[in-house]
Amino acid sequence: MTVSPHVPAPKAPAPRFLLDAEQRAFAESLHAMLAAAGTPAVIRDWSRGERTAGRALWSRIAAAGVFALAVPQAYEGLGPRPVELAVAFVELGRYAVPGPLVETVAAAAALRAPGPAGRFLPGLASGESMATLAREGGYALDGDAAAARLVLAADGLRLAPGHGPVRASLDPARRLTRLLPGGELLDPDPPAEGALLWARLATAAQALGVGLALLDRTVGYVRQRVQFGVPVGSFQAVKHRLADAKIALEFARPLVLGAAVTMTPADVAAAKVSACEAAYATARTALQLHGAIGYTAEYDLSLWLTKARALRTAWGAPDDCRAEVLRARA
């Protein structure tokens, strides 16, 4: 694989506490690419199990260097680069990109034994294959689509021999399945905690992006939707709900980026709970302010609304994350 031109190597010292120019440019380039990709149609296909468009988009995301950020350079990646990864996942969430994005990143973080790492990581970095990862007894996202189905089992990291029936999530784009027990033992002592940390960080960033998109779409809607002869966005009750959504998202953002810098379990958990709560609260506001049209599956808003709810419990429900924050101070 060739190293992506979109993710340059770190160089000049960044302005403190802010993304540097290259990180911002990376976000903008992904933003532009995804804006042009027409993701709602891709998401709807994916929800039906029709993956051609989804895989094509996946390849472009990989070519932009996103998965390589989680893959060490020794295995044809660019990583580990958690800050850039968080930046990327905000954009993936903003466009509600479907597929095992978080799980592929988590799988990359779990694959550290040289043999399996060499077998799987180059393909994950390049986008040739997608992976999924589950904790033993948990559900895997898109287990039917992934080439590498990994399980963090009691005795180590295993390559699942197959998957059970696919169950529909309340987010139609998320297809969940149990992975079958047994299979090849890839690593008896995998970096399980680290993999979960990456999963949690990526989910937090993705949720932030989902929330930002919901806010943008709702602001756009209430500006043009007229009732009682005026745009509903001129009503104070409407404005104040949107202001609260904006506040919650803007204070989740520094937690997500800050957690990517420190990568401590408490900071990542704080980012996860804040971003997911902000996104979910924004989803509730978005639905309320759209009214019945927001409750309509064929209207694209639904693609973000349902994802905000699903991400809230994926890779650590709010209570688990809060417990992690408190545990760090025990």
Partner: protein, 379 residues
Amino acid sequence: MDLTHSPADEAFRAEAREWLHAHVPPEPLPSLETAEGFAAHRAWEAELASGGWSAVNWPRRYGGRECGLMRWLLFEEEYYAAGAPGRVGQNGVSLLAPTLFEHGTEQQRARVLPAMACGETIWAQAWSEPEAGSDLASLRARAVRVPGGWRLSGQKTWSSRAAFADRAFGLFRSDAEAPKPHQGLTYVMFDLRAEGVTVRPIGRLDGKPAFAELFLDEVFVADEDVIGEPGQGWRIAMATAADERGLTLRSPGRFLAAAERLHALWRAQGGPQGARAQVADALIGARAYQLATFATASRFLGGERVGAEASLNKVFWSEYDIALHETALDLLGEEGEFAEEEWSQRYVFALAGPIYAGTNEIQRDIIAEHLLGLPRGRR
């Protein structure tokens, strides 16, 4: 992106910590909303000034250290972590002083700031009026031109610190004929003990005289006490208001320290499950506010102004502060009811947060209209 401070900044932090460790009174001072407590806090301002810590980011010639915004934030973290007393001089230091730096004359700065830094002059804010709270454009108190200055008449109210303060700053209507209500206002400093000023302390919810009504009857102020051009008071005050809501009124250090105290209280009670989420959210919120503030400070230092984004901060910290203190009182149970309990006092203070510095409703309007681009409508 980098979340570490430079070694020089950390050395500054260590110096502040050491000084505070050696000087912070071992026992809390009496409430600054009492005559005795006000005097004790004034003495503490003098002590701070003697060490050069009362206005760390000011130029040295006025008693500061010229330490810059980042170090000011670090100083505040250390200040609150050390459990140091509340700042009775805060209205002056965080509201009037930035205005003077931007709009005052050198003569005004030299006259006002050193006395402010050492607590010799404690300033009250005199903006609100009975008919004008968040809607400052409807102010009625007048300033009438006379030789050498102005005569102020009218009523101000809910003036923070005014019960015991020395001087006040506020807006007065100097041109009743101005085409728009926010035009024709003049920004004035005046003496609370001048002839014609009557100060009537008002009890806060807990009865303590934390603010006052001011009755002004032909009070003379000299031209040298007018800040900026007469008639430009609104524009000048709005710059101060942005600072007030933004970076300078509530630094994250205050909430980091409060969240730590709340966590310690929770732990001391065996970590009851019922309050777990609220305690975790207090810790998370303080961290969010800290990181957001450092990011804003970085942008500020890069030449950007805070503007309407200050409203995000104001709503966030004021609601955060109440939630944190409600959790503390819930944890304290019956003990939280007692007025002399420190948590109760802090709770009462927190309750004012969504009201002053422009109500949170007004802040949400600003966020919606200026940051989200929603149309203006009837309030």
